[in-house]
């Protein structure tokens, strides 16, 4: 039977040695850094407390480790080489240098990490929305390594252009688009206020009325049509029922002799003003 006192004294010696040892670790704001000595995990609070980035740490005591310098890229690369590589698309910033990302290949990510879902990636120092990156999985977290230079850069440009035009996720199409790209596009669009159906409807109605010279006051959702309150260029107030799919007039609010459906919201303004 092993001598418990001997084991304890060995551990105490290792712990004492630990306090003289510098170590390299990644750190997120408010997080801790940890090292393993003889299967025991030691957690340290970084100093400064809100440090974010890669650091070389020196223990101050059993609970605090101070950042003493920034490691070089070769040192970081050596650390990352020990972890599992995963290819991802960046979606959007969650906080600081932490981004939400989605696997470039769900099946590959599942084999490597056990899951294929939107994941946070820490310490992203370069890259932009939809950009393909290489990150490393340590069993709990993903750490940014570099922009994936082997990936085709054009899909991310096309996704960026589509999001700028507020194209709905189900309507984005281009050659080479993968289901994973559509998922990351959905993630990004969910985070953009302009993709809210009500905001989009409001913009659509505003645009149609403005082209005709009118102005939107308010509108209400009535299942398959909108009840739109608007004013003409002359300041007259009107309420019209407008079809959601193509903005044709279901009920103009003025007498159009049953020809309401021949008009849309854009042309309706002109008709009202010239009647």
């Amino acid at each position: 039977m092993p001598d418990i006192r001997k084991i304890l004294s060995q551990l105490a010696a290792q712990e004492a040695h630990l306090l003289d040892t510098q170590f390299l670790a990644p750190c997120v704001p408010g997080g801790s850094v940890r090292i393993r000595v003889s299967s025991l995990i030691y957690n340290f609070q970084p100093q400064p407390r809100n440090f974010e980035g890669w650091g070389i740490f020196a223990p101050v005591n059993e609970k605090i480790a101070a950042v003493i310098e920034e490691p070089s890229l070769p040192q970081i690369a050596e650390y990352l080489q020990l972890l599992v590589p995963v290819r991802l698309h960046l979606a959007y910033v969650l906080q600081g240098q932490t981004w939400l990302a989605y696997p470039v290949n769900e099946s590959d990510a599942k084999q490597r990490t056990g899951v294929a879902k939107p994941v946070p990636v820490h310490l992203v120092t370069e890259g932009s929305q939809f950009e393909p990156i290489l990150a490393r999985w340590d069993g709990h977290c993903l750490w940014f390594e570099e922009i994936d230079r082997r990936a085709d850069p054009l899909p991310s440009e096309k996704l960026k252009a589509a999001i700028k035009k507020l194209i709905l996720p189900q309507e984005v199409r281009f050659k080479g688009m993968t289901p994973e790209m559509r998922t990351v596009y959905e993630l990004v669009s969910r985070n953009i206020k302009d993709f809210d159906p009500k905001v989009r409807a409001q913009q659509r109605l505003q645009r149609a009325l403005k082209m005709g010279g009118g102005e939107l006051r308010d509108f209400g959702d009535r299942q398959n049509y909108w009840l739109v309150e608007w004013t003409s260029g002359t300041g007259e107030h009107h309420t019209s029922a407008i079809a959601k799919n193509d903005l044709t007039v279901m009920s103009a609010g003025i007498c159009l002799s049953g020809l309401d459906k021949d008009f849309d919201l854009h042309s309706l303004v002109g008709v009202v003003e010239n009647r």
């Binding site: 070089s72 890229l73 070769p74 690369a77 370069e126 890259g127 932009s128 570099e146 922009i147």
Partner: protein
């Protein structure tokens, strides 16, 4: 097989061994400095140091080996990171200004210094320090349509009139020609200690009509 396979076939194993362990410090990571550093690293120089205080700007992309996504970052750091990622060669990068006060620390442990600075103050600091400790130093410079590669003994620091201007005319082909010539000068020096002083223009490309 080494990544320097073709270089070794061309230059011999003995020369490759000499340049591998030949410490070179490149002052400047702009059009000349960054491309020289890259060419030396890809030719087999494994002990390189690069010093530059500047950050990458959009207008640099036509002549310097940086990416759009690098704009705003320190040139020396990005250059070192790119070459580490490309070749696994670790370059000692210093993103700081070289002055007479720190020249001894920054240029220490070099077997040769290459000066490509864009300002006469920096060039003067390099020239003076290298002369004071007899450290071999070659100055590489460009004018509108020619370039010069001159060792310290013969070099005169140009006037400060054109220092740090950004709207100068510059042809990438002249830059690359000058970089190739400067790198050959350094390889020759590492292998034989011969110091060649050279000048070149775009017209120095050896172009011959192909007679069909």
């Amino acid at each position: 097989m080494s990544i320097f396979f073709h270089e070794q076939l061309y230059r011999s194993a003995a020369v490759m061994s000499q340049i591998k362990n030949f410490p070179v410090t490149v002052c400047g990571a702009g059009a000349l400095g960054a491309n020289i550093t890259e060419s030396l690293a890809r030719s087999g120089f494994c002990q390189l140091k690069v010093i530059d205080r500047d950050r990458i700007e959009e207008r640099n992309l036509s002549t310097q080996p940086y990416y759009r996504s690098d704009i705003g970052a320190f040139k020396a750091k990005i250059l070192a990171n790119n070459l580490y990622r490309a070749l696994g060669v670790s370059i000692d990068a210093h993103s700081k200004e070289l002055t007479p006060a720190n020249a001894d620390r920054l240029l220490a442990n070099s077997a040769a210094v290459i000066d490509t600075f864009d300002n006469s103050v920096g060039r003067q600091a390099v020239k003076d320090y290298c002369a004071s400790v007899s450290l071999p130093c070659v100055h590489v410079g460009l004018a509108a349509d020619y370039s010069e590669i001159i060792w310290n003994e013969h070099y005169r620091v140009p006037s400060a009139a054109n220092d740090d201007v950004c709207d100068y005319p510059l042809a990438r082909n002249l830059v690359i020609l000058t970089v190739a010539v400067a790198c050959e000068v350094i390889v020759t020096f590492a292998a034989t200690k011969e110091q060649q002083n050279l000048t070149c223009t775009i017209g120095d490309f050896a172009l011959k009509p192909l007679i069909l």
